[in-house]
């Protein structure tokens, strides 16, 4: 079956740095250290996982005896439940730990908590944290645990970007050369950053669109001039939504946080919606079969109109299902391909 085939392919030998150990991937911290071949392998393993999800009895014994711990320092039901579902379908044991933001004191307590999880013999720790780089701190200081980044500050959300890629590929095949518009608050979006890596690696043409206060201009200006600047593909900025959407294959709508208005980055949500809401009229500027993605939860009536959110081109529900399959694939690959060293 496909699962075994994927496993036989193995993780490509590559890379040094934090995510790798003895040439093998140990952590998933972002997509910036993925090769195209590795990405393809994750996506094809996800196909096999989709097949498991389609069975009448959604259970595989693959990860029996393995334990997955989710540690969320930010409230997020969707992502946590998705990981939990993925782990349980593969028969891993799951422990969920949610830490109230108010009790987050300092990183030492973060490390302390995670060292405890290590001592409890967790195999994988899935972490979400409001501070960029928190998963890197863990990966650096924990000896035996694999770390999966479920979102760190404005930095990265690799599993979301993978499921976005998978969803695009499912409908349109390879995103190579496709015009993908990332619409909204790009500056504060970890989803956008990880997607820039993932889409860039797969050869998509990315257009960032939003008001000038929510566009990371410096990121785009330094692209290609620096060895480590974000993404490897074609990226441009277009602040006028009509031009951005013209001929687009995919529109990724980002969630607009209400705090942006309070921080003075926006005059009002009303004006934001007037200028940047993806509605039916604007979506008509994109290609007829253009896909609409949203990482959720949606503010309907702000960044997206209800008609588009639930319209024929919206794949938001499929994204959720694919999210489970992607996370199954990553857990499977990390836990079955990585030799345990005790």
């Amino acid at each position: 079956m496909q699962l075994e085939q994927a496993a036989a392919t193995g993780w490509p030998e590559q890379g040094k740095g934090l995510a790798f150990q003895e040439g093998r991937r140990r952590h998933v911290l972002d997509l910036d250290d993925f090769s195209r071949a590795e990405m393809e392998m994750v996506l094809s393993t996800t196909d096999a996982m989709r097949e498991v999800l389609g069975r009448e009895i959604k259970k595989a014994p693959t990860l029996r005896g393995k334990s997955v711990m989710t540690v969320f320092y930010e409230p997020s039901t969707r992502t946590r439940v998705s990981f939990e579902q993925a782990a349980k379908i593969l028969s891993a044991d799951v422990v969920n730990l949610s830490v109230q933001a108010s009790s987050v004191t300092k990183g030492e307590s973060l490390l302390d908590t995670l060292r405890t999880l290590e001592a409890l013999r967790a195999d994988v720790v899935v972490i979400r944290h409001p501070h960029a780089g928190a998963p890197y701190l863990l990966a650096r200081h924990l000896q035996r645990v694999s770390v999966i980044n479920a979102g760190d500050g404005a930095h990265a959300h690799p599993t979301q970007a993978l499921l976005d890629l998978y969803t695009i590929r499912q409908h349109q095949g390879s995103p190579e050369g496709a015009k993908v518009v990332i619409l909204g608050d790009v500056t504060h979006s970890r989803v956008a950053r990880s997607n820039l890596w993932g889409l860039g690696l797969m050869g998509a043409h990315v257009v960032l669109c939003g008001p000038p206060t929510l566009i990371p201009w410096e990121l785009v200006e330094e692209r290609g001039r620096r060895p480590d600047s974000i993404g490897t593909g074609h990226v441009e900025v277009e602040t006028r939504i009509e031009r951005a959407l013209d001929g687009a294959d995919v529109v990724m709508v980002l969630r607009l946080q209400h705090e942006r208005q309070e921080a003075g980055l926006l005059p009002s949500l009303r004006e934001y919606a007037r200028l940047y809401q993806l509605n039916e009229e604007r979506l008509a500027l994109a290609k007829p079969k253009a896909l609409v993605l949203h990482p959720g939860p949606m503010n309907e009536g702000v960044e997206i109109s209800p008609g588009v959110a639930h319209g024929a081109q919206s794949v938001v529900q499929e994204q959720v299902t694919n999210g489970v399959a992607i996370r199954m694939a990553l857990l499977y690959l990390l836990l079955t391909r990585h030799p345990r060293r005790e």
Binding site: E108, L110, H131, A132, A154, R226, D228
Partner: protein, 459 residues
């Protein structure tokens, strides 16, 4: 405290440093010759061998191939005492200074309590006299409690012995109050040292605003936040006639404002730190300059978190040029020691600061090796230039001066071993790096406060 144990705090009656390259920018001196120190003062520093009679009991040390220079003067460091003794004390901080070649250190007043009263200043001076191994010159607060609301008793502080005023990390935000501070400070003749940062702009910024910040999803502090306040303070100094000294300038824009202010003849001076001259914000990504031979690092290494943040390559080039031309007058370490726990956390939570006294010279020698600066100019920026800002007869080997002397081995390679630091602060991105150029001995008032000469000269 390992270093402190290695330090021999003995004061020979007389000492002859024989055959070194004497570099004393205060006299334009760059010659090979002997330096004679007697009874705590420089008796002779000049070309050629000392042909006079050696004082009885005079110790003679061969320093051929080494550089002999005045002890360094640091305009900006944090000794943390009173209040933060877990980070540093006057005892450990001054030993770190001695190890780094600094014989005079000006300590910032952001202690607890802050140095906003004569009594607090007297405590620091007394503690330094009892436990310090180099000269400590306190800097007093501009405002009471460093709160930016009401001026501190500046004349009282001056009488107690402060050499400048600063609220350092919490710059005076109220432009009206800053104007009065400049105006009132004229009573004392002392400069106001301002850490220029408009916090309304930087907000929660933790790194330089730019592609690195955005790449890592960290909040940025733009160069403009510094430049806005530099421009304000220059205008206020011009208005009042008060003296302005800019702490740790870090941007190309600040350098341009400074250049124009100096061209107008305004009483403005500035300092730059070794880390802003040698590191860029790419260090936060984990990049390391191969020239420094530092071990590869990880992204989000909190030892790179410092305020002002490490800037872009263009800023580093502008700072180097400004230092060479004298637009930026002096080098100051902004030595900011922290405990392990202050840095063992996420980047957002980590304390700002780099422990810099012990690596300063070794790091700065990179400028000489890369031919960005010649050695006499580098020594000037560490000695005569900062002494001139203080208006004190330090940083010189003139006859009769205090015998504050450093001996430098410009070719000595050494590995930065933070576990062996005299400072309690091991927070430096240079841990494990190999540096070329080292202070091998430091004399303070004619006494060795750091000495590994035997290892160098075989004496």
């Amino acid at each position: 405290m390992v270093q402190a144990l290695m330090t021999t705090e003995e004061r020979p009656h007389a000492l002859l440093l024989r055959g070194g390259r004497i570099l004393d920018p205060s006299q334009g001196l760059d010659v090979v010759g002997d330096v004679l120190v007697q009874e705590g003062r420089v008796r002779r520093a000049a070309r050629g061998a000392w042909r006079g009679e050696l004082p009885s009991g005079c110790q003679v040390i061969d320093v051929r191939g080494l550089v002999v220079a005045p002890g360094f003067v640091d305009l900006h460091c944090h000794l943390r005492e009173p209040g933060y003794e877990a980070k540093e004390t006057i005892a450990t901080g001054t030993r770190a200074a001695a190890w780094g070649g600094f014989t005079t250190v000006c300590c910032m007043p952001n202690t607890d309590p802050p140095l906003d009263t004569a009594a607090a200043v007297a405590f620091v001076l007394e503690r330094a006299r009892q436990q310090g191994v180099v000269r400590v010159l306190p800097i007093g607060c501009v405002t009471r409690g460093r709160s930016g609301v009401q001026l501190a008793d500046m004349a009282d502080l001056a009488k107690a012995g402060v050499v400048a005023f600063s609220d350092d990390g919490d710059p005076v935000a109220d432009a009206h109050l800053m104007r009065q501070a400049f105006s009132y400070s004229r009573l004392t003749g002392l400069p106001i040292i301002n850490h220029c940062q408009d916090k309304a702009i930087t907000r929660e910024g933790v790194v330089n605003e730019g592609w690195v910040a955005s790449r890592l999803g960290l909040r940025g502090a733009p160069a403009a936040a510094e430049e806005v306040m530099v421009a304000r303070d220059i205008a206020l100094a011009a208005l009042t006639g008060g003296r302005l000294h800019l702490a740790h300038v870090s941007t190309a824009g600040s350098v341009e404002l400074l250049r124009r202010a100096k061209a107008r003849g305004l009483p403005v001076t500035a300092e730059v730190t070794p880390h802003h001259l040698m590191f860029t914000d790419e260090w936060v990504l984990g990049y390391r300059d191969e020239g420094l031979r530092a071990p590869a690092a990880f992204p989000y290494d909190t030892t790179t978190k410092v305020n002002p943040p490490l800037r872009a390559q263009g800023d580093v080039q502008a700072l180097r040029r400004a230092l060479k031309e004298g637009v930026v007058d002096a080098i100051a370490t902004d030595h900011a020691p922290h405990t392990l726990l202050d840095k063992l956390c996420t980047y957002d939570e980590a304390a700002f600061g780099i422990s810099g006294l012990e690596t300063a010279l070794g790091l700065l020698m990179g400028l000489v090796q890369q031919e960005a600066l010649d050695l006499p100019t580098l020594i000037n920026r560490l000695t005569a230039a900062p002494a001139a800002i203080l208006g004190l007869p330090l940083g010189t080997l003139k006859e009769g001066s205090p015998a504050d002397v450093v001996v430098i081995d410009p070719d000595r390679e050494w590995v930065v071993d933070v576990a062996a630091f005299a400072s309690k602060g091991r927070n430096t991105p240079l841990a494990g790096a190999t540096l070329k150029g080292k202070v091998v001995a430091t004399l303070f008032g004619g006494a060795f406060v750091h000495n590994e000469l035997a290892m160098t000269s075989g004496h």
